[in-house]
C-alpha cells in the first residue's frame, strides 16, 4: 500500500494540520509516512500545501510530480494540481469560492462543501476535520480510530475535550460528498 497525497489551500484553512493528522494516523497504523510542506511566511497570505505519503515501504522522494489523491481547498490549488493527479486518482475539493470546476475525465472528482457546512453550523475551525472525514470515506487509507488516537497524541491535554467534537465532524464530513 502506498498513497501519495497533496493537500492545498489558503493559509489558515488548516491544510498543514490536516496533513499532520493524516500522517500521524498513518504512524499509528505502523506505516512509513512523510509530510512535506511548501513552507513560507504563510501568515502573510499566499497558499499553503503539503505532500503526505503513507506507505508500507520506505519512502524515497518526499517531493512528488503526481499524486494519488488531491485535497484542494481553493481555486488556485485546483488550477495548480488538477493536472498532477495520476489517472484513476481522486480530486476532492471544497466548492466554496470555486469559479472554474475541475473537469478531468480520467480521475474521480468529489465536491465536499465543508466550508459552507462549517459556516452554517458555526464550526469554522472544524472545516478541515469535515474535509478529512470525507476524504477517508472516499479513500479509507487510515482508520478513524487511529485518527482519533493521533489527535490525542498531538493535541495538548487541555484540548482533549475537543476530541468528541472532532469525531462528530469526521462523521458529518463523510456525508457531504458529492461525486461529480
Amino acid at each position: 500500500m502506498k498513497e501519495e497525497i497533496i493537500i492545498a489551500g489558503f493559509g489558515g484553512q488548516g491544510v498543514l494540520s490536516m496533513g499532520k493528522i493524516l500522517a500521524y494516523s498513518g504512524l499509528m497504523q505502523d506505516k512509513e509516512v512523510s509530510w512535506m510542506p511548501a513552507y513560507g511566511p504563510e501568515q502573510r497570505g499566499g497558499t499553503a500545501n503539503v505532500t503526505v505519503i503513507l506507505s508500507d515501504e520506505r519512502i524515497s522522494s518526499p517531493v512528488l510530480n503526481t499524486y494519488d489523491t488531491a485535497i484542494l481547498l481553493n481555486q488556485p490549488s485546483i488550477d495548480k494540481f488538477e493536472n498532477k493527479i495520476k489517472p484513476g486518482g481522486s480530486l476532492i475539493f471544497d466548492g466554496n469560492g470555486i469559479t472554474r470546476f475541475p473537469d478531468r475525465k480520467d480521475i474521480h472528482i468529489y465536491r465536499v462543501d465543508a466550508t459552507e457546512y462549517a459556516a452554517v453550523n458555526n464550526i469554522a475551525k472544524m472545516m478541515n476535520m469535515l474535509m478529512l472525514g470525507a476524504v477517508l470515506k472516499i479513500r479509507p487509507i487510515v482508520e478513524i480510530k487511529n485518527v482519533l488516537k493521533g489527535l490525542k497524541k498531538t493535541l495538548p491535554e487541555r484540548h482533549h475535550h475537543l476530541i468528541p467534537m472532532n469525531e462528530k465532524a469526521l462523521q458529518a464530513g463523510a456525508e457531504l460528498i458529492v461525486k461529480l
Binding site: 511566511p41 501568515q43 502573510r44 497570505g45
Partner: protein
Amino acid sequence: MNIIDSANLVYRKTPVMTDLTMHYCPGCSHGVVHKLVAEVIDEMDIQDKTIGIAPVGCAVFAYKYIDIDWQQAAHGRAPALATAVKRLLPDRYVFTYQGDGDLAAIGTAETIHACNRGENIVIIFINNGIYGMTGGQMAPTTLDGMKTATSPSGRSVPLNGYPLDMTKLLAELDGTCYVTRQSVHSLGAVRKTKKALRKAFENSMLEKGTSVIEVVSTCNSGWKMTPDESNKWMVENMFPKYPMGDLKDR
C-alpha cells in the same frame, strides 16, 4: 448632494504609493508607516531625490510599495548602505527603514556607527518587539515576560537579558540631531509621526547629523492578537518601557 466628488477630497492614497497590495498581515503597522513616508515624500516633492534602503524583515518588500528608488540591504546593514549612498549623493534624501531585529540586534554596530558619524540620513525604526518576518521570535526589544516563539514562556531577564532601548542609546551619540519616539495607533499618533518624519527628512539637507524616528508598532500576527487588541496592548505595555516623545532635537 454628491459629497463624493474630487472637489471635496480630504484624503486619498498618495500617488507615491504603488498600486500593489501590500503583503503585510491585516492591521500591521508597517502599512501605516509606509503611507506616511510616501506622503512626506509627496508633500516635499522629493520623489526624484529620495533613495530608500529596505531591511531584511517584514518590510523587505517596502520597495514594492513606495514608488522611489530603493536598495534592499542585507540583514542589519541598511545604515552602512545609506552611509555610502548619502556620501556619494549628498543632495539626495536617503533613509533606512528597519525593524527591531534588523536595527537593534544584528545591525547594532552599523546603526551606532552611522549615527555616531552623524551621517545625514533618516533612520526609521519599526519597533514591534518581535521578529515578524521569521515567525515571531524574540527581539532585543521584546518586553520582559512577553511570549514569543523563542521565549514561549515569556522573556526572562536572567535567560535573555533586558529589553534594549536602542533609541535612548542613539540619542546619546553626538552624531544624532533628532531622535524621537512615535506610534501610529491613532489619528493623533499618526499625525505626529508624519510631522516627525517630515522634520527628519528636512534635517537631511541641513548637515545636522542623523535623524532617528522610532515607531513603536504592533505585530498582531507575532503577538497573536487582533490588530485592535494589539494597539491596546501596545499602549499599555510597550509605552511604559518605550515612552513617546522627542529624546533629542537640536
